[in-house]
């Protein structure tokens, strides 16, 4: 029933240098799917004309020639610059702010404090963040005042003339301390904040969201267990590391409309948020599309744009604010540090039967950067990993502290929790005397299993994915040195849901124009839309144009959550079919024939028994003014697909026992994929995620001491460079099954997650050092080795 072949893509597809192994498994009978599966998967061999082709990203020319306009590039006549004064204290009462001297400075056009602004809070979901601190500051880097001046140097100079008197308050930096009975309360009024989710309130001090995911019955599970293991892990904070810092430009025109250019991947949402933050109707905000210089989950907030608005309103000039990278590292929205405690019940024969997880996230001073309705970190629900566990309870606490507020970073929560799960799996296997791989395989998720959030999975491909990673790696083979080790890790990543909007029209020049509110943050999303539309019709790719016009839409989920190809791609596929149908009607009218007889062939419309044919341009001309040639649609997709995506990695390292330094010798990343729409973008997501994962695991840390970030520029906060990348082997376990158009799946947040666990496990295999606290630095390994030598371990 199942044909299986292995095919070396080297030279066959576009990739020639990177070794990619493609394992295809095609089910020939569509009816294999269980009834519970919502999506009908039609499996067929790749026979597309544009789908699957390594097409250039359509905005490429603008990007390689420097013509692509990003927010900081926007130049408007009369534009001035804003700079913010930030709090030097982690927690203090603002006694007074004296701006007089700054206002006097030549070239300064306005100085604003909270007293000059409406008393309004903002945030991506919960509105808990002041635009400027009003009576209290809650972290080092919080904005207290803002200056607008003719140039940024003058604005910067004026900041040092503002006198702020503070009265220091007791501060709390560690979430565990913040949860104690007498800890200082950061937001005593949390429950009254707009959009604060009541369902997740907690009575524990400073906990602003407590989410529980539960399947089975934990007590029962532990009763079945022969052995119970407790492990606790801690993880650190990572900055998204986009090269473009946050920027905003606002120009308030004479009609009071605010024109907004912003580094935001959800521009329609930004329009609504800005309107709320400054107290104007949403239609008074016009969002202009700009390129976004890297998102990785971090660019969904308003950041400085409300300040730009107020300064523009005050001065009558367009105002630009661009954060310095120092401001990014001090007051961006980095990955949440976490403490993950796992209690695992296992039977004598090595079955994981129960898992209790407590995940505590340091939320920082505000929760306003969190974009999910429950205002917590979604990845916490992966605390059972890729292992089918019948009885699970996960409690995730998001806790206010006097630290920089956390935000979403690619696979938010997934990395933190997966590191804990994959480390603990090995600890348990070792304690049981079980084989690391066999123990995992015995417990892997299967079709019909429930995830901790109650979601039932179908078409689970984790076994094949893990097997593919193992086969392509050196697992089980002799090692090349005494301090070489290998580690396994596996993860899953859901395919996101949300609201999609679009407009599609046949243009007079015979092209099909696609308008989307979603910006292409670099993932190639617009090219994916182009391919989906072109394939659906089918049209040559050049006949489809894609434009981002967020200003045409009132609501939209924007980019993020591994959702775009699925929800937006699906929408455009349906809209293309609708438009095609409309076109057929127009053609039928033009050719005076039955709609059913209309034929589209070789780029021309004709009909059975009709001599004449029409080009698309002729159809468009004929149909000029017909509303049906332009379709607009909104579609809310809340159905989380029952197919998910799996990743398995095997990483081989060598540890220098004298220094603790880790070198990655080999990295195999195996992915369970559907149809690949554009291999260029697809592989790019895998590559970028892996390297970002290595950064998280070993290199990057937003280091803090008493709430003060000490890594405040890219000389101290290091990002991996081109010389730091290891040999990478990608394995694609392909099956044309996926909920997104043409049976595709999500890829953007897949490859980053397992990296850290695999490295941690490899380090243990190499030198016997088990890392419980991230990042995995040479220094930690060194001291652990020292301790070992002294028989401390």
């Amino acid at each position: 029933m199942v044909t299986r072949w292995k095919l070396q893509v080297r030279g066959l597809l576009w990739m020639t240098r990177l070794p990619i192994v493609c394992v295809c498994r095609v089910f020939l009978i569509p009816q294999v799917l269980a009834k519970s599966v919502r999506y009908v998967y039609i499996v067929r061999p790749m026979s597309y004309t544009v789908i699957g082709k390594p097409l250039r990203h359509l905005e490429g020319r603008a990007k390689v020639t420097g013509k692509a306009i990003f927010t900081a590039d926007v130049a408007l006549p009369g534009m001035i610059w804003g700079k913010a004064l930030r709090s030097p204290l982690p927690h203090a009462q603002i006694v007074s702010v004296d701006t007089r001297e700054a206002e006097q400075m030549s070239g300064v056009l306005a100085v604003l404090t909270a007293q000059d602004l409406p008393d309004v809070l903002t945030g991506r979901v919960v509105y808990d963040t002041p635009v400027l601190a009003r009576d209290r500051v809650r972290f080092i880097g919080e904005k207290v005042a803002v200056v607008a001046a003719e140039d940024p140097d003058i604005a910067e100079s004026a900041l040092s003339l503002i006198e702020v008197e503070y009265e220091e308050l007791p501060a709390v930096f560690d979430p565990k301390e913040a949860m104690k009975a007498h800890a200082p309360l950061l937001h005593p009024d949390y429950k009254s904040y707009l959009h604060a989710p009541e369902k997740f309130f907690s009575d524990i001090p400073n906990v602003h969201s407590h989410v529980t995911w539960e399947v089975g019955n934990l007590e029962e599970g532990f009763a079945q267990a022969d052995r119970v293991f407790d492990h606790t892990f801690t993880t650190h904070s990572q900055h998204q590391g986009f090269i473009e810092p946050h920027a905003s430009v606002v120009s308030v025109d004479s009609d009071g409309r605010a024109h907004l250019w912003i580094t935001n991947k959800m521009p329609v949402r930004a329009q609504k948020l800005l309107a709320d933050a400054v107290g104007i109707p949403q239609e008074q905000v016009v969002v202009h599309p700009v390129f976004i210089g890297g998102d990785f989950g971090g660019k969904g907030s308003l950041m400085d744009s409300p300040l730009c608005y107020h300064l523009s309103k005050r001065t009558g000039r367009p105002v630009k604010m661009v954060m310095t990278y120092t401001e990014e590292l001090m007051a961006g929205n980095p990955r949440h540090p976490a403490t993950i405690s796992l209690r695992t019940g296992v039977t004598q024969d090595g079955q994981v039967v129960a898992r209790q997880a407590k995940v505590v996230f340091g939320s920082g001073a505000y929760a306003g950067f969190k974009p999910v309705p429950f205002v917590n970190i979604p990845g916490a629900n992966q605390a059972a990993g890729v292992y089918g566990t019948p009885h699970v309870r996960i409690d995730a606490y998001s806790v206010y502290t006097n630290c920089v507020p956390g935000g979403h970073v690619r696979a938010p929560g997934d990395l933190q929790v997966n590191f804990a799960v994959e480390s603990s799996m090995e600890l348990i296997a070792e304690a049981l005397g079980d084989d690391l791989l066999e123990f995992r395989k015995r417990n892997l998720l299967k079709d019909g299993d429930l995830l901790p959030d109650g979601h039932r999975l179908e078409h689970v491909r984790v076994d094949e994915t893990l097997e593919a990673a193992i086969e392509s790696s050196n697992w089980g083979k002799p090692k090349t040195g005494p301090h070489v080790g290998r580690g396994i890790s596996a993860s899953y990543r859901h395919i996101g849901t949300g609201e999609a909007n679009g407009q599609i029209s046949l243009e007079p020049d015979g092209t099909v124009k696609v308008i989307t509110p979603v910006p292409d943050t670099g993932t190639g999303a617009h090219t994916v839309f182009q391919q989906v539309v072109a394939e659906t019709w089918p049209l040559p790719i050049q006949k489809v144009r894609v434009e981002a016009k967020p200003e045409l839409f009132e609501t939209d989920s924007g980019a993020g959550g591994s959702r775009v190809t699925y929800v937006v791609g699906q929408l455009f596929k349906e809209m293309t079919e609708e438009l095609k149908e409309s076109v057929s009607h127009v053609v039928a009218e033009a050719l005076d024939c039955q709609v059913g007889d209309v034929v589209f062939e070789d780029g021309q419309y004709t009909a059975k028994g009709v001599e004449r044919s029409m080009t698309l341009a002729q159809v468009a001309k004929f149909g000029l003014g017909k509303t049906e040639l332009s379709i607009r649609k909104t579609q809310v997709n809340r159905d989380k697909p029952q197919v998910t995506t799996f990743t398995a990695q095997v990483i081989e390292v060598e540890v220098d026992p004298d220094t603790g330094q880790v070198q990655i010798l080999d990295l195999v990343t195996a992915h369970d994929v559907g149809t690949i729409i554009n291999p260029i973008g697809h592989q790019g997501q895998i590559d970028g995620g892996v390297i970002q994962g290595i950064g998280f695991a070993m290199i990057e840390e937003v280091a803090m001491e008493d709430g003060q970030v000490s890594t405040l520029h890219l000389g101290d906060y290091k990002l991996p460079n081109i010389k730091d990348i290891p040999p990478l082997k990608t394995v694609l376990v392909q099956e044309e099954i996926g909920p997104a158009p043409f049976h595709s799946k999500a890829i953007g947040e897949s490859s980053i997650t397992p990296v850290v666990g695999a490295i941690a496990n490899a380090v243990y295999d190499a030198v016997g050092v088990r890392i419980y606290d991230l990042p995995i630095t040479a220094e930690k390994i060194y001291w652990a080795l020292k301790g070992q030598n002294a028989n401390v371990e």
Partner: protein, 156 residues
């Protein structure tokens, strides 16, 4: 940032106490402190200069006695100073404990908790830490030297 310094002074605890109660003396023992001026019984105002390579920092601020507990032989001081040009400052808490080791020998324990704020705190923290450590060592050394010492313990 936390710093500790302990030294033995060949002088009675009473004498060391009296010495420390005169802020002028304290100022003289802190390298970089200038123009110490008494504002009221517990508060002094002064200038503190420190150099890190080409960077010259000039802090203006106050030193305030918060605790003068002769029963416990404990002094607690709060220091707040700003460098306006750079837009940064220092906040510190200095605690001194005196332990009698003999009729003419006193152990002085100095504990400093200091925070470098604003622009100053943003860069060069490691070197600032080193410099602060030096200032504290120097303080202990000068107090011992002025009142008599056995050379001090190099106990950090």
């Amino acid at each position: 940032m936390n710093f500790c310094q302990t030294c033995s002074i060949f002088s009675s605890r009473r004498k060391v106490w009296d010495f420390l109660m005169d802020m002028k003396n304290v100022g003289l023992c802190l390298p970089g402190v200038e123009d110490m001026e008494k504002m009221d019984e517990d508060t002094y105002q002064g200038v503190y200069k420190i150099r890190v390579g080409p960077i010259a920092l000039k802090f203006q601020g106050t030193l305030h006695f918060e605790i003068r507990d002769q029963e416990q032989w404990h002094v607690g001081m709060r220091v707040e100073a700003k460098d306006r040009r750079l837009g940064g400052g220092v906040r510190a808490r200095l605690d001194v404990d005196l332990v009698e080791q003999g009729p003419d020998k006193t152990e002085m324990k100095v504990n400093l908790e200091s925070h470098v704020l604003g622009k100053l705190g943003e860069f060069g923290q490691p070197v600032m830490r080193k410099k602060t450590d030096f200032v504290l060592q120097e303080f202990a050394r000068r107090v011992s030297e002025t009142l008599g010492s056995d050379g001090g313990d190099e106990d950090l």
